[in-house]
Amino acid sequence: MKQPRKHPMKSPVESPVESPVQRSMNCLQLATVLLGCAVLTACTTTYVPPVEPAPPVMAEPTPEPAPQPAPVVVNPAPQLPPPVATPTPEPVAPAATPTSTLLASVQSAVAAGDLDRGAALSERALRISPRDANLWYQLALIRYRQQRFSEAGDTARRALSMAGSDAVLQRQINTLLQQIGSGTP
């Protein structure tokens, strides 16, 4: 069968011969992937900010929002129940979630060197759980390994924008962003 006119899959930037330093860095990256997967930050604790009254506004002081940045609903409607009650019921058996199952597949694809498949699986997980900062971080790691630095950077920044109060994940993402900064030719 003939191939289509063009092969639109973007191929990673041609990799020069790996220096030992680079190789050890890749090992470090792999370790980071595994660690990141293990941590699997479930940072979706929803903080509801003080309900502010609609204008005209009462003089009584509204409580200060928590100093810690946390995922919040910007501006909940005053008279409505807080949106913490997401319509998604909790899984009955939380042992294996769809994302943890997919992340395990991501790991084995990455370990087998099939980064394209790893990326596709991360994105499948993201379609299920699009605001999971860790999933964006995993995708950023794969893009970095594919030497698609610009995409890796944007994806990592998106992860950071969702990391909320997860200091460990924030540190990991910032480390990756530094590496991307130095990895870009």
Binding site: M1, K2, Q3, P4, R5, H7, P8, M9, P49, E52, P55, P56, V57, A59, P61, T62, E64, P65, P69, A70, V72, V73, V74, N75, A77, P78, L80, P83, T86, P87, T88, P89, E90, P91, V92, A93, A96, T97, P98, S100, T101, L102, D116, R117, A120, E123, R124, L126, R127, I128, P130, R131, L139, E151, T155, R157, R158, S161, M162, G164
Partner: protein, 779 residues
């Protein structure tokens, strides 16, 4: 045979001119011998040519295969957003059979609370999804639990995608080629029983069969039986365009013999199974048994029962005459003839025979959506045209995986016409038209698309092609440009007062608010929530129109927008899809993802060719987008979209913006929750006035659709730079006159906190903040 006769008959015709039989041999004229010799040579040459032709054509036999286009596959897991009814609808689209007990793949059982099913498995672009057994409980519109065989743990399950369209080859032929070992043996038996009982022993033509057929025809006084073999029928099908003359018949017979000489019975049978014409579906010709199984029964070949296989084998003789969708009685009669033959030959047991004859014909239900999704498909072809030409799509059997959410698309189509009717003026001269774009708010994948209000509408695709002024939908770009600069915050006081802007040609542009009122000093956030035109012009002119155009382009607008002040109020034309792109970036906190309708392309056998993954590019400061969203949520809570609270009150917070254009020609709404983004446009094709604003028209349609789609409330992460401050409820330009008896809390970028003179913060925190300022300066 007839071909053989032709040289003889020419000798025969020459006989009267020849001398009597008693004459000596040498009296036969030379020219008769010449004629005989040349005829024989010509015949031999003809045979050689036919032999060559058949070999060449059969060896090169490679069908042009249509591209198959699939919907997004349904993912099932505890918490997945799908109701029991929607799941069952989807399974029926896949041709799953409802049964009392799930025995094989492609079957499901529906209890009151529980659905049990066994999937077929599928080769996706990212690997194989194996067939599995699963049980699901539901909790309203969500999956409550998912379990595997024997209540085992099953975290995630991906169903097969639904084939929504094919791109047919120019021949109009469609087929699903199968190897012989994928064909159920019962089908092979049925075909041989009804078409060619001596298939394995003859050499292409079957003299016994022909004699018997002739005898049967003579007795019946008409054509009741054909004597041609499977091989001859295959030839006939392969060269279908040839006219049926005696010479062609002879040629077919010779070709059949040649084919048998060079190819095995298995090769010939395989070709027959895939080539035979079995029906017509619009402009698409159904070839081969595998596709016929899908066409008539909606299920794959290996899931059919003996009676269904016998029916398919039977209709080969006259696909339109025995069409089971149209003439079920004829088809059943024919099926029973096949079953009888099979029974006589000992292919099936007495029991199978009796049950098969009694079996009720269960053809595919006419879904009615056979017309497909033309508006969405246009976007798919547009996406594909970047990488594939139409020849590749028509011949190579590509599998194209799209982002279309069938459940969502069907819900939109089911509700749209009624929702438009509900806002349409009773005395409208032309029908009110609409366009709808629904995307995944996080990834930019297009989930549903409507190019008009009628279901399955295939005319002018307004979602892609209706280029209209966007009115106030442009305002978020104005406010984002402001909030990104260090000079503005949500508490900036704008002037909502009459203004005259000199135009290049000498006249003066005098914008007005929609209600023709002026509001004096207003907060920036309030001006966006209430969509105040005068305050927006005040802000936009201070920020600079080119800066606004630049923001618009960063958000994803690719066209040229002239930097005139009227742009600030929406004098820029866009299609609904272009608007969706801009709001997509806002919904994703300033990360732009191109809208996509295609996710992946594989070969016919499932090898990945292309994967169009999630792209994301940061184009705006997430903190500025967070501030903007505060006001865009306010649009629902206090502003122009608060009318939607009746419908969507339990879905708040949501973010969005209304849009209305001059003389009420266009009514727009663009808005998003956590999961979905939707853009609705309403207007007349002749560009006349609709009598609707964004709030009285498009917003109401949007709310009806989003209620149906079960949009989820916004939950976004507050960036670390955000700090909340108290400001006076009533905006005053003069700080000395601020009234802190009534205060409210607003989010600020911590590098752009309002001047202490303007806030209502208490003193302790004031000193802290001064100290903080010094600290930050020192860094």
């Amino acid at each position: 045979m007839a071909g053989m006769a032709s040289p003889n008959s020419s000798t025969g015709r020459s006989a009267p001119h020849a001398p009597s039989p008693r004459s000596p041999r040498w009296h036969v004229p030379r020219f008769v011998w010449h004629l005989l010799l040349w005829s024989t040579l010509a015949f031999a040459g003809w045979c050689v040519w036919i032999d060559f032709e058949v070999r060449r054509d059969f060896e090169a036999l490679q069908w042009a295969l249509p591209a198959r286009i699939y919907s997004r596959p349904v993912e099932l897991y505890a918490g997945a957003h799908i109701s029991q009814q929607h799941l069952v609808d989807y399974l029926q689209r896949l041709g799953y059979r409802r049964s009392a007990q799930v025995a094989g793949p492609g079957e499901y059982q529906q209890g009151e609370e529980r659905v049990r099913l066994r999937t077929r498995g599928f080769q996706f672009w990212d690997g194989v999804e194996p067939p599995v057994y699963a049980e699901l409980d539901f909790d309203g519109r969500h999956v409550h639990s998912l379990q595997g065989e024997g209540a085992s743990e099953l975290a995630l399950l991906r169903l097969e995608p639904v084939e929504i369209e094919q791109v047919n080859p120019t021949t109009g032929e469609d087929r699903l080629p199968v190897a012989l070992n994928e064909v159920p043996p019962e089908l092979v038996n049925a075909v041989i029983a009804i078409e060619d009982q001596r298939f394995y022993t003859h050499h292409g033509i079957d003299p016994i069969g022909i004699a018997r057929a002739m005898w049967a025809n003579i007795r019946a006084g008409g054509i009741v039986q054909g004597g041609s073999t499977l091989t001859q029928q295959l030839i006939k099908n392969l060269y279908l365009d040839r006219e049926q003359t005696l010479r062609r018949k002879a040629e077919e017979a010779l070709m059949a013999i040649a084919l048998e000489l060079h190819f095995s019975k298995e090769e010939i049978l395989t070709a027959y199974m895939n080539e035979i014409f079995l029906g017509q579906d619009g402009n698409r010709a159904i070839h081969g048994f595998a596709l016929a199984a899908q066409h008539y029964f909606g299920r794959p070949l290996n899931e059919l029962k003996v009676d269904e296989l016998a029916l398919l084998a039977g209709i080969g003789r006259g696909a339109s005459y025995y069409n089971p969708l149209r003439y079920p009685d004829r088809a059943v009669e024919r099926r029973n003839v096949v079953l009888t033959r099979m029974h006589e030959r000992g292919d099936i047991t007495d029991d199978t025979f009796t049950r098969g004859q009694k079996a009720k014909l269960q053809v595919r239900e006419k879904t009615g959506s056979r017309s497909g999704y033309p508006a969405f498909m246009e976007l798919v072809y547009d996406n594909l045209s970047r990488d594939y030409d139409s020849a590749a799509l028509r011949t190579e059997g590509l599998r194209i995986f799209t982002t279309l959410d069938l459940t969502m698309q069907n819900s939109v189509e089911a509700k749209l016409d009624g929702a438009v009717k509900a806002v349409e003026r009773a005395n409208a001269k032309t029908p009110l038209e609409t366009a709808v774009v629904i995307t995944d708010a996080n990834t930019g994948e297009v989930r549903a698309l409507a190019g008009g209000r009628q279901r399955g509408y295939s005319g002018f695709n307004r979602a892609l092609h209706a280029v209209r002024p966007i009115g106030s939908l442009v305002k978020p770009a104005v406010y984002l440009a402001a909030l990104e600069s260090p000079d503005y915050s949500l508490a900036t006081v704008l002037s909502d007062r009459e203004i005259g802007i000199p135009q290049p040609k000498g006249e003066t542009w005098r914008p007005q608010n929609y209600d023709r009122e002026v509001n004096g000093d207003v907060y920036l956030f309030d001006a966006l929530e209430r969509s105040l035109n005068l305050a927006t012009v005040d802000l936009g002119l201070k920020v600079g129109v080119p800066t606004v155009v630049e923001a618009l382009q960063r958000l994803g607008y690719n066209g040229d927008a002239l930097p005139y002040p009227s742009l600030l109020l929406g004098a820029v034309d866009m299609t609904p899809v272009e608007v969706a792109q801009i709001y997509q970036t806002l919904a994703s906190s300033g990360f732009r993802s191109p809208l996509r309708a295609v996710e992946a392309v594989t070969t016919a056998t499932g090898e990945p060719l292309a994967y169009y993954g999630i792209e994301t590019t940061q184009v705006a400061d997430p903190a500025a987008v967070f501030l903007l969203e505060h006001a865009m949520q306010g649009v629902f809570e206090r502003g122009t979209a608060r009318g939607a609270l009746n419908t969507l009150g339990d879905r708040m917070p949501l973010a969005g913006k209304t849009g209305t254009t001059n003389d009420l020609r266009d009514s727009w709404f663009a808005g998003y929750g956590n999961d979905l983004l939707g853009v609705v446009w309403l207007g007349h094709d002749d560009n006349t006035d609709t009598g609707l604003t964004g709030a009285t028209g498009a917003l109401r349609v949007w709310a009806t659709l989003m209620k149906e789609l079960d949009i989820t409330p916004r939950q976004i992460t507050q960036p670390a730079e955000i700090q909340w401050e108290q400001v006076p409820a009533r905006p005053v330009a003069d700080a000395g006159r601020r009234d802190c008896n009534e205060a409210m809390s607003l989010p600020f970028h911590n590098a752009r906190l309002p001047s202490v003179d303007y806030t209502c913060e208490v003193n302790e925190s004031f000193f802290d903040r001064v100290l903080d300022r010094f600290r930050s300066l020192g860094q």
